[in-house]
Subunit: 348 residues, 2 copies
Amino acid sequence: MATIKEVARRARVSVGTVSNVMRSSTTVSPKLRERVLSAIRDLSYHPDHVARSLKLRQTMMLGLIISDITNPFFSQLVRGAEDAALEHNYLLLTFNTDDKPEREKHVLSVLRSRRVDGILLVVAPDEHGYLHITQILEWGIPIVCLDRVPPRIKVDSVTVDNVKASQDCVRHLIEKGHRRIGIITGSLSLPNARQRLRGYEKALIEGHIGVDRGLVWQANFRAEGGYQAAKELLANPNRPSALFVSNAMMALGVLKAVEELGVRCPEELALAVFDDIPLGELLRPPLTCVAQPAYLMGYRGAELLIQRLAAKTAKKEASKCLAVRLPTELKIRESSACSQVLKGRSAG
Amino acid sequence: MATIKEVARRARVSVGTVSNVMRSSTTVSPKLRERVLSAIRDLSYHPDHVARSLKLRQTMMLGLIISDITNPFFSQLVRGAEDAALEHNYLLLTFNTDDKPEREKHVLSVLRSRRVDGILLVVAPDEHGYLHITQILEWGIPIVCLDRVPPRIKVDSVTVDNVKASQDCVRHLIEKGHRRIGIITGSLSLPNARQRLRGYEKALIEGHIGVDRGLVWQANFRAEGGYQAAKELLANPNRPSALFVSNAMMALGVLKAVEELGVRCPEELALAVFDDIPLGELLRPPLTCVAQPAYLMGYRGAELLIQRLAAKTAKKEASKCLAVRLPTELKIRESSACSQVLKGRSAG
DNA sequence: ATGAAAGCGCTAACAT
DNA sequence: ATGTTAGCGCTTTCAT
């Protein structure tokens, strides 16, 4: 591969001039500029971005850490982040952690060595106060947290109002006449899982329904977990008439269990889900849900991060942490339709 | 951030010694080694991988170009590639092209400037002989093509036997008694789309059924395309009794159309799909399909690429191009169950 | 076994 | 306007 030196030699100019032509910093006479440009073409010269990174002390790379790209919510988010990044000439290094803290720590250390300019982070659960996050920030690498924001840490974030969204969703079930409403939560060491549980509880209280700990199943935000929880739950003789599933992957597991056990939905079990599924309307029955703007979350997150980077380069005073909140949307579909049983009850 | 120089100073050794300790190339006396190690700890030194890349002329980064991470097939593939890459200390730069040739060319040029060591490529359609691929290879960047292999180009690849898999799938429909079988293809400038059409035709010929061009709809491997094609197709007065949909995304579109038009499946229209959908069994009806080993395709592709890289570094003679073929699996589910109509017909 | 120094390809400050 | 050169942080060869 040709280097800037070879280009300079061929164009009979100095390397500085070649650099000037490429970065159009200083003015270069038309004659020399033309010579340089044609040398670049002749040699099919592509500047070495690694060398530039070393010199400029910025890689124009962003780390993106998510739990699992297989989850449609995250694939949307990644597309958004990629679009924003590329618009500003940043590249994305994406990693899946499966929500394993040790994997996250390893990735973080790799990203530090690779000298990424900033990190977009969907944080994994951590029992120890998220010290590794603070550490990265202290090293001077800006972080924007997406979807989940670790408690008591000063960091930018882009999220939705999980409490309110869940509350709206469960309220909808209550309005449909349900009184025994269960919930399947993600790991409660995850802030957003806790918030969704909070929203569920608030809706119940608001509806003058007692919170029954026996109706709370903790799983792990994965299909398998939803499946297991649903199996248990449905075997329960005093099972709920409606269920709030706090993410999409678990909902798929629930659906599988419902299917296998021949439980009719919504007649015997109404369902409402946190997160839309791209084909949520294609499932039988179509699933009621609160949808998050996943693409936007990635897009805005990357934008915010890049903005921070620009301010940093300009040596501007770091402004306060930003906590961007995106709106959610309740999508009412058949899985929460008024059930026969309830109709019967209310008639009786 | 601490540099190797600072570590050297603190440990009162030369930078060369620090480097030796880290890379454990030469032997270093236990005494000095201990001093270096503790200096590294004290300064929380993380070697600058950018500088190392420049010196070593290898970035330990791989480019991964796919069409759309939102497609479950690709998210699986990406997970596989990531796992293999990380195992060998490579990082992945992933890009979505939406199958747009100009986007692919741009990404390729970016990857060249970034000096990635190799590229995993799901090639976008191209009408001009895929010259840009050849060019990259000439520049000395190894490529492994995944899923689709551009015709008449000497390049490593990991694929499935699209012709045979499609043929098996369509044969299954024929065995179920169907004679009028339609197909929705992807863009026929895509090698795999063409192969799947070939397989469809071969199955028909083998079953002594004439190939009717009126039963071939060309779409674009996206949900929207499948939806449009299905709408047209189902409005056709002489419509087929069975349909082979040549990828999963389009199948979702087809399902939506079927739903909207109130067409019963499989009674009025049997369905078989190329690609499994993670929740294909949860859809009503569950979809018959040929499943590809997507994760494995990514994993094996990355392995193969890394193997090439190792051979290259060792200045080994480049061996012949490898074309790895992975097995597929026919999964028979309800969407292709024997229909009432056909039963009636065969009885009559 | 250890240190000194060249050089990877680039940018930017400085000299002309 | 153009050329010269130091230096980014590392690895590695060559002395010692």
